[in-house]
Symmetry: C2
Subunit: 374 residues, 2 copies
């Protein structure tokens, strides 16, 4: 019995130490390359073909360096210092495909990785890293005609300032000077801002590629900041929709309709959003069914048939989530909507969680059908 235990112990040790790297399924491939979200010329962070991430931080006199990114529940990745005072480390396992926010904790303080570009998330400019995805071609920068992303500053009497939004105009917008376009108002999530859908989401490249393939009729996308109190980012429990609804419906939409060649009726106006932006979409479309005809919730809740307006029915309801979120809730909600006679579509992003890869894929699925239904 003791001998048996010893053999088991050896096998167990073997499986987690030197024998580990002999296994073809768990060996870390040394094909690491700089992340596509790195600052120009920066070699680290790196990612390999399996989805592992490797970090390298110079801080020779630091006591500890931790990367917030790692496998769930493991407290991120602790880096170790080499003889030159350089801290390095690799995630304990492969990361999900797509974009991730992260930061460093150095001697108890939170800082960004000087190798990575920054993206607004968690109410701060965080470091970003990109794990190459098997389907990354749909949001890649390709040699196709490109639309523009326009920064606009629109007057907002209700908040007593000029507010910023970005407007995606498709290729051909400037040449076809008589053509008018439908509009999708597309919201970011909590802690993000109006830069997220372009910078993290590549919404413009997703549209450019779909248009080049002839898969979508061009439309405009308008992205603005979904909170009206820029200083306090309190709990969502205290969030009131009315101030933002005023900005969106009474200020931004009239400005966009006056300054861009839009089809400015309900039939050609959609609202969608991810996470908190889905919550906002849900509330505002129910409050203002006369303004929008197409609704999209991306990891942002569901609609029930009971809460929808009977006389101003939406022409499309799109509800999505990652497979690591709550896909059954999404599918069940869409079934119930279909049973009640609504044009509803569900989408589940395989192998992704509450992150931007889910939302990139959701936009890619949504765009071709968005203004096709009636």
């Amino acid at each position: 019995m003791k001998k048996h235990s010893l053999i088991l112990a050896v096998l167990w040790i073997c499986s987690i130490s030197f024998c580990y790297s002999q296994s073809s399924t768990t060996e870390i491939k040394e094909d690491f390359k700089p992340s596509s979200k790195n600052q120009p010329g920066k070699e680290y962070p790196q990612v390999n073909s399996q989805g592992y991430a490797r970090f390298r931080v110079e801080a020779p006199k630091a006591q500890s360096v931790n990367v917030s990114l790692g496998l769930g529940g493991q407290g991120g990745t602790d880096l170790t210092k080499d003889a030159d005072g350089v801290w390095t480390g690799t995630t304990a396992g492969p990361m999900d495909e797509g974009f991730h926010y992260y930061h460093l904790t150095i001697d108890g303080g939170v800082f960004n990785d000087p190798g990575a570009k920054n993206y607004y998330g968690s109410t701060r400019w965080e470091s970003g890293i990109e794990i190459p995805a098997h389907d990354q071609e749909f949001y890649a920068l390709k040699d196709v005609p490109h639309g523009n992303v326009q920064q606009i500053l629109f007057p907002s009497p209700s908040t007593n300032t000029s507010r910023r939004a970005f407007v995606y105009t498709p290729p051909g917008y400037s040449q076809e000077s008589e053509k008018r376009y439908p509009v999708l108002y597309l919201q970011h999530g909590w802690g993000e801002d109006e830069t997220a859908w372009s910078n993290q989401g590549h919404a413009n490249l997703i549209m450019d590629n779909l248009i080049a393939e002839g898969k979508v009729e061009p439309f405009l996308i308008v992205m603005t900041y979904g909170m009206t109190n820029e200083i306090k980012f309190g709990g969502l429990r205290d969030f009131k929709i009315e101030p933002f609804q005023t900005v969106l419906v009474d200020e931004l939409i009239p400005y966009v309709d006056a300054n861009f060649r839009t089809l400015s009726d309900r039939d050609h106006r959609a609202m969608g959003g991810l996470s908190m932006g889905g919550m906002e979409t849900h509330r505002i479309t129910l409050n203002k069914p006369e303004v929008f005809s197409r609704y999209a919730l991306l990891s942002g809740g569901i609609y029930t048939p009971e809460e929808l307006n009977d006389s101003l029915k939406p022409d499309l309801i799109f509800i999505s989530a990652g497979s690591k979120e709550n896909p059954d809730r999404v599918k069940n909600a869409v079934s119930a909507l279909q049973d009640a006679g609504y044009q509803a579509v569900s989408f589940v992003s395989e192998g992704t969680a509450h992150e931007f890869q889910t939302w990139r894929r959701s936009l890619y699925e949504l765009a071709p059908m968005l203004f096709q239904t009636k």
Copy 2:
């Protein structure tokens, strides 16, 4: 004699220690406010009405925290740790008005201040801070009609990619659908990129405000990345102008003329740049006098009458610098150009050095006259 010396010594000690704070001219006023370049909701860094900057960084276990910003030649500002593990410190004196790049050195590693927004300079995304200037109204966000800043991705066969540029279109551009506009091609400095003139320079707000006051006839501004090797940022000694000249003249200009309502002749096309962008402007306008009719060097060298093309004379040469740079060289160069019969204008920004306040003011001076001369 000894008694006299003692009195002098006491007076001297008095003047640099406790008596120092009694002096009304050198007392640090406790009216510090968050920098306008802070991330949303961040209290630090702060600036006071005299131009002092104060920093606050949490890193309880760090050995040393230094801010690169400080008075010249003093190695920045060392922060000191309080009982709570928070590092604080104030610059030894007032800073120049306007925008400054900076970073932190924590235990020997270079990081950004988590309180500040980041700006691309020194070939990295650096922290930025804004010292309120007496003339800051000319680049303030005001309740006036605003133009747009459009991100374009234009095809560049010579570099085998799609390259990014930003195009400022003035208020009214979308409504006045028949009107055509002159164009200024405006370059950033070394270590910066195509985001600099909007983010640090507020070129769009300077134009919006000038147009609202009726001081300038609207024109477009096109800003693109002035280097063609994105990885290696070597010495400027090895810089070759031809690859960027090809991108600008053979690829970007035709794209802009095809996609925006420009006046596409030489008379209505200008080139300008700051620092390295001035060097590029100098080289490209001399190489291609048939393409541009107006030249602007902002802290970026001079023209001599001898090097200019006799048959394709520029309609305007604008040369500027900060008073802390080389104002006499700028003035003398412009005098020589005027003596030789050229339409040349100099501008010196009072009290500023090789920084963005000099270039904001230069654009403000340049814009009203840029397309008025012939």
